[in-house]
Symmetry: C2
Subunit: 209 residues, 2 copies
């Protein structure tokens, strides 16, 4: 039997994910004086995790972030204590970060942030993410990217088809903000949920009919 850290509920795992992703990222300005910021200093991942928690609690959707894939090499099993992983390596995920179910529909999406103000560079995508989105689209999944222009504080639900088409165009190394505005659904930050992306998903589903 695998033992878990004492005093830590194994079910509240998103907090750990959050702390870990903050450790990995370079320090950012988290408080800016005189600026009205509606995202309240949360990273996109935190906003999505909070939104997913809200949607789950309200019975509206079941969407989870997948755990970071890790290749485990060495584990210690100390007596009277929980197993400790002593050597492991990060692996590249073979899928996108988020998936789940909403009103019978399969949702699959990736979350991306850019500090660029005029376009979204396509180098932010790995080839396997594109092929995964393509494969899910072929199975009639609802697939998209949640894109955050950090500096502009603007959020978009970009349909996967737009990203895949741009990715396949050898002349494209990015998607311009204008293209995104015309092909995507802009999200307004909220309080509960912080990022009400299901409203945009409803429109994607409507558009497909």
């Amino acid at each position: 039997m695998v033992k878990y850290p004492q005093g830590v509920s194994p079910f509240v795992n998103q907090a750990d994910e959050k702390n870990w992703s903050q450790m990995q990222q370079p320090a950012k300005h988290r408080h800016r004086r005189g600026v009205d910021f509606s995202d309240r200093g949360m990273t996109l991942e935190q906003q999505l995790n909070e939104s997913n928690k809200y949607y789950l609690a309200k019975g509206l959707a079941v969407v989870h972030k997948k755990p970071t894939p890790v290749q485990i090499v060495k584990v210690d099993y100390p007596k009277r204590s929980r197993a400790v992983i002593r050597e492991a390596y990060f692996r590249q995920a073979s899928t996108t970060d988020y998936n789940g179910v909403y009103r019978g529909y399969y949702l699959d999406f990736e979350a991306k942030e850019t500090r660029n103000k005029s376009c979204f560079p396509l180098k932010n995508f790995h080839p396997h993410q594109i092929s995964h989105l393509q494969a899910c689209l072929e199975q009639d999944g609802i697939c998209f990217t949640v894109l955050k222009f950090v500096t502009l504080e603007r959020y978009f639900i970009v349909p996967a088809s737009i990203v895949i088409a741009a990715w396949k165009n050898p002349d494209h190394s990015s998607i311009s903000l204008e293209e995104i505005i015309s092909s995507s659904i802009e999200l307004q930050c909220g309080y509960r949920p912080p990022l009400p992306y299901l409203d945009a998903v409803d429109r994607l589903i409507e558009g497909r009919k």
Copy 2:
């Protein structure tokens, strides 16, 4: 940028999962003389992973096993080398092991093995797996358990509703083989895919209409 082990394709990660799950499990008889065994010594997880690879390659479904959730505490970043996780702990997953999309349907399932010959003990389920299956059912997902009676070499697709009902019945500590036979779909092992579970999923979808 996260570096990956040299010479290891980051996209072929199921092999690693397999090796790891073998390390974790007690040694088993993997070759039995004079016994006709159609599962060719694979664990249920291996059979499912191989089946999912086959379904993905054929464009039939996109189903992946989720990575083992790990709480990372300490990471070394050696110069000129990839990051090494030096302290981490296993966490309990908040969902089931497998999910994905098939013909527009959301699939969600758990894989369970038992060496019991007459029933499936319900203690094999964690409470959070039951509540996750329940939440996914409420969103019209196709939810089930792939159950392997290891000694009998029999495989069943048990609808999640059956497991949830038995779990909620205080008089039930297990589901008998007879109940499983009458309420589930038995699978025959194959070669490609090793476990053709989509055939049973088709019947679950038909039964829902």
